[in-house]
């Protein structure tokens, strides 16, 4: 097993977020499930964009957010994901590289446009996401470069990649490449609806491939088809070596073998919860990469999440290392 030259490599849908404030009525009128992510086609994306309020564009994508936050925390990070050779693709590539993340995936030429997620933020700070995947569905096995994957101590995969069929295959190939190189594989379940859509595939992947699992309450209940969080937690602890269960303002629970650590949420003023889970995962992974003990990994996750929900957008604005009180 060669030495890792990256701490983390993420794979995910490479997406530019278009965030706008929306009233609850706007969601109700359009039958949108508050807080969920749904996939929309090009036509619906146009129609919804025309109807929604003034927006702010910023690079997003769940795993890409995690990678940007982990880099801000001092980890050595890479990212694989597919944008198009268009204006939004240029924005995505600029932003992730400017965040200090190695991003080698070539853009898609002459096909679908760069993926965008139309995010409606309601006055309660919740976000309802409408994703047009565009070029992101063209992320295929060839893009999951095994040499890049083998460079990183932890491969981090977002559950949303189960949606594009070709990406699912790339996902499995990347996990095999990581394990072949003696690396760990981390998965985030991403979204309860995504778990419903692909439950069997997720169950199998968690059992057979995932060493580390990130999930919130709704997602893990969906995964194990139970209403009982304690039961779901018991089950996941037998399937992965480290499970990080997030519970919004009630903090998180880290389970590793027989260990159980309850982690408090860091104080935060909720402006916009977009990217909170992504930032939490980044904190945990960046601390794991430094070899820190689990309670400290949890604290890094909580502090990173608190910074992200205190402002609009899913990428950090403050100096995270200063917030954590750690050296650069």
């Amino acid at each position: 097993m060669s030495e890792a030259t990256l701490d983390i490599i993420g794979i995910g849908n490479a997406i530019v977020d278009v965030q706008a404030r929306a009233e609850n009525d706007f969601l109700v009128e359009r039958g949108l499930d508050k807080g969920a992510m749904r996939l929309i086609d090009a036509e619906e994306a146009e129609a919804l964009y025309d109807a929604m309020g003034p927006g702010t564009e910023s690079s997003g994508g769940s795993a890409a957010n995690t990678c940007a936050v982990a880099a801000a925390l001092g980890a050595r990070v890479g990212y694989l994901g597919k944008v198009a050779a268009d204006a939004l693709g240029r924005v995505f590539a600029h932003d992730i590289r400017a965040a200090g993340v190695h991003f080698p995936t070539p853009p898609l030429e002459g096909g679908a446009p760069t993926a965008r997620c139309l995010i409606l933020v309601t006055p309660d700070g919740q976000r309802t996401m409408n994703t047009f995947l565009g070029a992101a569905v063209h992320f295929t096995e060839g893009d999951a470069d095994p040499t890049e994957v083998a460079r990183a101590g932890i491969l981090y995969l977002e559950g949303y990649l189960f949606d594009p069929p070709a990406a699912q295959a790339a996902f499995r190939a990347a996990a095999r490449a990581a394990h072949a190189a003696g690396r760990r594989v981390a998965l985030t379940l991403s979204d309860p609806f995504c778990v419903h859509r692909h439950r069997d595939a997720f169950r199998e992947f968690v059992r057979k491939e995932a060493d580390i699992l990130f999930t919130n309450e709704a997602e893990i209940l969906a995964l194990y088809e139970t209403e009982d969080f304690a039961e779901a937690a018991r089950q996941v602890a037998t399937e992965v070596s480290l499970a990080a269960l997030t519970r919004s303002e009630r903090g998180s629970v880290l389970l590793a073998g027989g260990e159980r650590h309850e982690i408090a949420a860091a104080p935060a003023q909720v402006v916009d919860t977009t990217g909170a889970g992504d930032a939490y995962a980044a904190g945990v992974l960046a601390a794991l990469a430094r070899g820190l003990p689990l309670p400290e990994c949890g604290r890094w996750g909580s502090v990173a999440a608190a910074e992200i929900i205190g402002h609009f957008g899913a990428r950090p604005q403050a100096d995270l290392r200063r917030l954590l009180g750690v050296a650069a």
Copy 2:
């Protein structure tokens, strides 16, 4: 004189802002004057974008920001400005229309791309702006539709329009159309460097065409080539019927004929001063359109500015009418 069907129509450079945090050293290394706006060409725009940090894209443009804020304050608002038929142009048009602003200018086909302003926000909340004008310089007399201009009670012009030569002609044509229809003409000086570049033209326009002038301290000192604010204030009061002089955290002064009103700044936590002056002008103009007394016009300006500097970006996020305690 027919009845106005709009309260305000703005004309300005239609720009998408790309904002990124930057350290003071970044400005020093590149010889950038903190707090100023400078014009850059396509090549320099590429180089600076490559070097700067992760960005957030949002619609900007000084007069366009003012129009969006005035619409949020309940005024009936139109805007004229030139974007290209490209992705950023689509973003600009969507955002200003979604803000409730009438925006009839057709996009430029097959020419320069939509203008962008690369804004570097330093830890002190100041912004240093680097503008590539692109399609905005193709705003010509034909775009300053006299029918649209005549619809609005107040024509609002940004001083930055003195930079593109064709826009300057359009600017004068619009002022003539407004006065011919019995409307008022308002001007904002925009930037001290812009005033230096075009001082004689500004002086003449203020004396001959402007009924209302918005300016900050640095701008009015540049206009009258003096170091003495009181002297500059005395002079401007003889040249326009209403002058609004802004002094950052020291509030503003409204001068109209013999009247002088000192307006306190509204309490604000400075996150990013981008658009503070634009929002102040919007507050004053929207209140003028309602026929409110001058001290109340000043209060509207202060409250709108305080909202804008409390977050990243130059367009409002909170409910401005609620902040002012006025009915919708």
